[in-house]
Amino acid sequence: MVTYNLKKIQLVPGAKDLIDIVLSKTQRKTPTVIHRHYAIARIRQFYMRKVKFAQQTFHDKLAQILEDFPQVDEIHPFYADLLNVLYDRDHYKLALGQVSKAKSLIDNLSKEYLRLLKYGDSLYRCKMLKRAAVGRMCTIVKRLASAFSYLEQVRQHMARLPSIDPHMRCLIIAGYPNVGKSSFMNLITRANVDVQPYPFTTKSLYVGHMDYKYLRWQVIDTPGILDKPLEERNTIEMQSITALAHLRAAVLFFLDPSEHCGYSWEQQMALLYSLEPLFVDKPVIVVCNKTDLSWSNAQRVEEELNALLDNQQEKKGTVSELETNNNKKQQRLTICGWRKMSTLEKTGVIQVRNAACDWLLSQRVESKVRGPRAQSILNRLHVAIPAGVDQNQQEAGELSLCRPFIPESVWKKRQATTTNTAFHTEEEMEREEEDENKQPKQSNVVVLEKDREMAHGGAGVYSSDWNKQYWMRDESWKYDIMPEIIQGHNIMDFVDADIDERLAALEEEEVAREAMMNVDNDEEEQQEGEQALDQETQQRLQRIREKKALLIRGRSKSRNPIGANKMTKAHPKRSEDWKQQWKELGMDESFLQSTTQQIISNRSQSREAKSHSPAPRSSSRSTSTYRWNQTKADAGKGFLNHQQKQKAMRLARKAIRGISKKDRRKGEADRTIYNENPKHLLAGKRKLGKTQRR
């Protein structure tokens, strides 16, 4: 469906403005620097781009205009006619045609010049070609100046047209000038149409909206119409005629029997008859306004209008009669009905509106049902009727096809409660309760918990006994307290109807499993007994492990003398310790003696051989192992000799004495917290924040 967004048409620039826009855009959006010495291909490409861009921009602008303005042939006939009446159809089409022609001219022109530019042999020639192309485009556009100014005016006027939806439910108010059309409009919608006591106050169509039967309706107020031939009507009248001719709507034809509008009753009726061709297939309601004034010919008015009504019935009856009638025009006109009304006193206004709406609605529904779309839906519909429904009842049109089923007992109970009155005093209540206890089956009266609560002191004092209502297999279980948790389990998670069987199955399974396990266990125990280590071997293993641990700790000492553990002595230093250890290992005393002697003698020989050996050592060092000699190689690694190194190490050790291991690794650049417990954070009252955080 075509949508009419006449309000959203973009502004149409003047011819001069359009040229300015395009030229400046071309300048801005394309490259601007070109030199003679550039490759000719590049120069051609530069100017071709400019021409192409200018053409494209002109094309876009003109296409936009053509797209925005509605095509007279394509839109709804109501709008087409309205455009014709207001702006002259020919002029409108001509203007748009000019624009369209200019567009194609510009396209062809640019094509031609691009072809020429391809053969441009110098910068100057290319430039001249470009100039000529753009200049010619501008000339074409300049010739559109009058079309543009006309279209701009049309655009401005169109934007102010009421937005009428030609397919919507619609009421059209028509009649002679000054009969009260606009005041009726103001009464039934929220539109604020100007109302003045002179003819032709309303000069164009006005639209108002209202709600009726939860539907949206649009009401169109038309300018007054005079009774004259169509050719002589002016623009204002023609608008009304257009609306009447093309919109499928209910027509409210206003008459003023009091003749205060300045036109006689005969004139008004003549108009009604002359407009008849426009009323085909539309419900027409004749509204006699101004009942507040005296009607001189009230009798005649009623007669004539009733005649019109009868006319309709006759028409329904026989068609042939109608043709033979003399006064065809008068006879052909049919109206749905006529109403009296006064917009001044506001009497009968709503009745008029409702009648008009109802007629239009029924007509629309009828036409829809007759249409092909409705047929396709109706073919698929099937209304199912329950088997139990009485055929007669259905024909009578009763809405409730099925009666609700109410059991006998419920009926009785309902009746009983209606006859009984509510309890109010406590004594009555108790008496009732006693009765209930004695013969609970016989008493029909239901004592509500609410009543009981009221009788025993109200909410907060009396609490209802809900357990009473529990529904259980055994009545005596009602007040049981159900344990929920046992040994870290939820009891409800274990509840199962066949718990006994499942438990029995489990126990069976367990017995079978146990038997299996016993056999396996015996075998395993035998195997284990074979593999187990005896006491002595275990002790030896223990000693090996201890030794290994000591070695590992000793190794760390050799790597980092400062961080060494003083307590570890994997390798004894002194010969006594050596001997002790070897003795512990079970070495023969005599063999031990001989071995140590041998080692010492070997060492003394080597010492003699190397006469440059270091100065005398302390007595304790003299007996130490040959490992000592290995460290001699240290001389020369930044030290003059071994003693110097020894001294340095001693001093280093002394310097770090009393400093914890962790602190030894610290450097000057490391972060330090000088005061870990600052007083200002930890002392005093706590007002803001916590101990940790303030």
Binding site: P483, I485, F494, L503, E509, E510, E524, A532, L533, K547
Partner: protein, 167 residues
Amino acid sequence: MRLEKCYICSSTVYPGHGIQFIRNDAKVFRFCRSKCRKTFHMKRNPRYLKWTKAYRKSHGKEMAVDSTFEFERKRQRIERYDRELVGKTIQAIQKVDAVRTKREKEYYKNRMKQAKKQSQKTAVRELEKGISLIEPDILRVNQAVKAKDAVQQSVAMLDEDRQANDS
């Protein structure tokens, strides 16, 4: 009122303990303590944390599949109270518990079998390889020499005896 399981460590959360987190898709997560809650919010997977039940079960440290577990399951449908049934259930719970603990113990024992074998193996190897640490080679050489001497002596004595006999 019911006992819930911690989402992270699967420990039992008694009423009034722990905290629960309800995500905006209405899934409820219960935590037994702040450690578990923090772990959850750090998006850690309980399967990869060694201290959780989920880890232990998925890595075969604890019994994960057993018929005793089938007795306990959360019901979506509410059962009507039945005194006899509840009584039977309470007794059943204790029996099932006993069976379960027994099986768990056996499971542990079975699991440890392999480790025991392994430790024995290493012990033997350690003894073979590390014997020099407590009984140095020199000592064993000494003993071997002694033995050799003794043998040589006895051989010599035998030879002497033989010569004496011959003569």
